[in-house]
Amino acid sequence: MKQFLFFIQKEFYHLLRDKRTLFILFGMPVVQIVIFGFALTNEVKNSRIAILDQSKDEVTTSIIQQLEASQYFDIEKNLQSEADIEPAFREGKIKLVVVFPSQFQSTLLHTNSAPIQVIADATDPNVANTLTNYASAIILDYQNNIRGNQDFPYTIQTEMRMLYNPQMKGSYNFVPGVMAMVLMLVCAMMTSISIVREKEIGTMEVILVSPMVPLRVVIAKMVPYLLLSMINIGSILVLSVFALDVPIQGSLLLLVFECFLFTITSLALGLFISSVTNSQQTAMLISLMGMFLPTIMFSGFMFPVENMPLPLQIISNIVPAKWFYYIVKAVMIKGLGFFSIWKETLILAGMTTVLMLISIKKFKTRLE
Amino acid sequence: MKENFAISVRELTKRFNDFTAVNAITFDVKQGEIFGFLGANGAGKTTAMRMLCGLSFPTSGQAMVAGYDLYQDAEKIKKSIGYMSQKFSLYEDLTIRENIRFYGGIYGLSDHEIKTKTETLVHQLHLEEQLNKLVKSLPLGWKQKLSFSVAMIHQPKIVFLDEPTGGVDPVTRREFWTLIYEAASQGTTVFVTTHYMDEAEYCDRVSIMVDGRIDALDTPLELKRKFNAPSMEEVFVQLARKAKRTE
């Protein structure tokens, strides 16, 4: 036991001595939370638009005022002719052009109907869709204003309730994802690299010929990263609650337990990678391509899994992060209890056990 | 400082924070001399050597190497010296021929010179068969001999060797020293650190560093006489015992 403690101490020395690495390992979750929480939103606002007003009458002027007044649009340019539209788009900043034909007001007066053209830069389809919708809504609002409100017969009203995230904040979606990402990075990548590094330098052999039981060597390697990860989890949770206003709806104890479980899964993955590679560069490459990318892709927090082709959806089931993401969302945001997530927990635990067993076995055979 | 010394060092010091690795050492190395630079692990040999090669800035003191000032003309010094570091420093993923071409090239040798050099060098080391093999496939002894030859490729005035024979078998060591003698006989000054005391006997003069200072400097014969010791080993042990610094 004393041996074992010495060993853990040695691992801590390694970790603490390298200040740069340590700084990044602790800084990573903070930076990610800040970026995801504050900088990245799918909301579209302050988009630059241009107006081609060939009529310049009272009605067009007031519609333009309405557009200008909304938080979604900044009118950047007034175009003179249709030939100006394409260059305006090509320079890159203008996302939408609203075109009023000449004689707009008089057409409206005579036929009760006047055409407005909304041209979107559909380079980014989602933004184009959203902006077109916003512009239409503003124009229709104005239309209802000049009509004066009146009730239609046979009206179906729709009442909407936003569950779990009434303010529709992006962070509710991102926080669990960031947790999965950081744990993967710290545990899987760092452990695999640090073990492979010892192989490269040759110290692993020295350790293996010592009377330490291989299992203990492995565990000792993991303890510092486990601790580091728990600190990271703590900082992520504190930041989300106090800086992002994402409350923990469910049981904190359950949440921490699940994080602990996933940390061990990630460590097992790292160990597994280290048992199949011999160079740091390969270990990094496998960690990045085989662990990190799937975590981002398949956990569902950045890319919608349900839109993927079926084979990818099936593959997504073997990515541990997917299950973890589901669990964290359930416990932290939906406030569900253990009975709603026992199946997922069991899957995660199963994966961990299998990975651990395989890697330890590989580790042993290397000895013989 | 006299011009005819290959290396001339006065009060050279290197400090890392509050640790003085090299403490005001002073010595001269004559041209064409084989100068042994001895000391226990951590005595400051490598640091001193790295300063003389222009890899590390001195904290204070003066030094002239190959007639150039260490502070002002470090890049000129580099043209006139060769260096073989403790770590094996040829490219393992290049072949012998490619390594020779590379180092010859960066020292400004022409294609023709590189070609003749490669031939003589390979002949001298009996590496004809291995010429197009990757360096990583060579045994350590050959690697070391090859490193030495590559360090000598531009016929430097001075060659610095940092523990060139570490981990090498006695036969190869002897062969290695034949190479050193050959270089010296052609007028190259050899500055060598070593842990092998029999090698120290081969040197023209030997200095022994203890705790960052040079505690003794003379011919091996004179040193043995001074310390009343039968061998260099005994001289070394007597001096090293005084060391307070451990690694």
């Binding site: 740069r20 690495t21 800084g27 970026i35 900088a39 990245l40 939103t41 799918n42 606002k45 988009s47 788009f89 090509r90 890159g92 409206l108 036929t111 009760n112 055409p115 407005i116 053209q117 909304v118 979107a120 559909a122 380079t123 980014d124 389809p125 989602n126 077109t132 512009a135 229709l140 239609f152 046979y154 009206t155 179906i156 729709t158 009442e159 936003m162 979606n173 690299i193 640090s194 740091q280 560069q281 990045l288 391509m289 919608p304 839109n307 993927m308 939906k334 | 222009g54 890899l55 043209k79 260096y83 570091s85 770590k87 420093s89 071409r101 590379f102 090239g105 960066i106 020292y107 400004g108």
Partner: protein, 372 residues
């Protein structure tokens, strides 16, 4: 010049001899460009709906059929219990619960007014928003049909009406891949350029060969050029492979001139390589180099406008993107590929890229020390 040639010769030999590098250059574009775009499909479709129908009337069934037929929605369950439907939401099997109250048809016909109730899983706000909007527009359509059953509307507009028509330029089919794939290619080129450069130099540090170079009389700039040029070529190779893959698998052919992309990429890569170089001067081990590059590139990518548009970021983040080389290239490649922007259109981007190249490389050269 000769020394540079010798250095380049050596670097290229090593690169072609290293299976890992070749794998990275050929495999990474394959994986990233072929798999990632499949995942990066943000179009809102396949919204799962659970319907609670307490009415079981003609209208309620018509409405449910209309929702089913729209193509956007999967009907997960059709039942009479809100609690049960909510459970689907809890298990992420449904995104929306639509409840049709017991007297829906009666209220609509008798009282002229009926209310539907919708509960949306808003953890993913975008999906909730758009899914809700789609469902509402289907309900509005349904509403219009119902109204037509009962009232004959006059043929001439009695009310002033704006006829809004919308057109989508540059990407009329609203294909998300055309938007994402070039952006992903930028990320790829950036990663290859900075990671490989940083790792390559740090590896020479770790192995010790850099020391041997430092005792030779070669100049800093020669050494650095000798490192930059090979990776510059590799970066452009990756770009070419990527553009070819885009053409083969997605049929993406730049509307603008290919040379515009290459001219920009040539300048941009100098900056990226400079970044790699700079990282290598700070890192001692490959692990450090990897971690630092990863950390920086991650920030650059997230704040580069690949996933979310820069305009909607807060001011501080927008200011940051001005100092983010990745954001310039992402913008440029999209402009050229989709809109056919010319060299003149991207002149300021080009200038910025040149500035990055100068600053990062000078910084790296100052920081690269032959002597410690």
């Amino acid at each position: 010049m000769r020394i540079l040639r010798i250095l380049l010769e050596k670097e290229f030999r090593q690169i072609f001899r290293d299976p890992a590098i070749l794998r990275i250059i050929f495999m990474m574009p394959m994986i990233q460009l072929l798999v990632l775009p499949m995942a990066a499909d943000y179009e809102i479709k396949n919204v799962n709906v659970a319907v609670v129908d307490l009415d079981h009337s003609t209208y309620s069934i018509q409405l449910v059929n209309k929702v089913k037929a729209s193509g956007y929605f999967n009907l997960v369950d059709y039942n009479e219990s809100f609690e049960k439907s909510l459970e689907y939401v809890e298990h992420d099997q449904a995104d929306i619960v639509l409840q049709i109250p017991a007297s829906f048809e009666k209220d609509l016909v008798r009282e002229d007014k009926a209310t539907l109730f919708m509960a949306l899983n808003a953890i993913n706000g975008v999906k909730a928003n758009l899914g809700g909007a789609y469902l509402r527009s289907i309900i509005n359509d349904f509403n219009r049909e119902v109204r037509l059953d009962w009232v004959q509307l006059p043929r001439v507009n009695p009310q002033p009406t704006f006829q809004i028509s919308s057109i989508n330029w540059f990407n009329p089919l609203m294909n998300y891949k055309i938007f994402m794939v070039p952006g992903i290619l930028v990320v790829l080129v950036t990663m290859v350029g900075s990671f490989l450069t940083a790792l390559n130099i740090v590896k020479e540090k770790e192995v010790g060969t850099i020391e041997q170079i430092n005792v030779t009389p070669i100049h800093k700039y020669q050494f650095i050029l000798g490192k930059l040029i090979p990776f510059w070529v590799l970066g452009l190779t990756t770009l070419s492979i990527g553009l070819t893959l885009e053409w083969i698998f997605y049929g993406i052919v730049p509307v603008g001139n290919l040379s515009t992309i290459y001219i920009f990429a040539a300048v941009y890569l100098l900056g990226v390589l400079g970044l790699g170089l700079l990282i290598s001067t700070y890192a001692q081990t490959q692990q450090q180099a990897m971690l630092i590059s990863f950390f920086l590139i991650m920030i650059f990518i997230l704040l580069g406008g690949l996933y979310t548009s820069i305009e909607s970021m807060p001011v501080w983040a927008q200011v940051f993107t001005k100092f983010n080389p990745v954001s310039y290239f992402i913008e440029v490649i999209r402009m050229v590929v989709l809109k056919g922007s010319t060299l003149y259109d991207i002149r300021f981007h080009l200038l910025a890229a040149a500035a990055f190249a100068v600053v990062l490389n000078s910084w790296a050269i100052v920081n690269y020390k032959k002597r410690s």
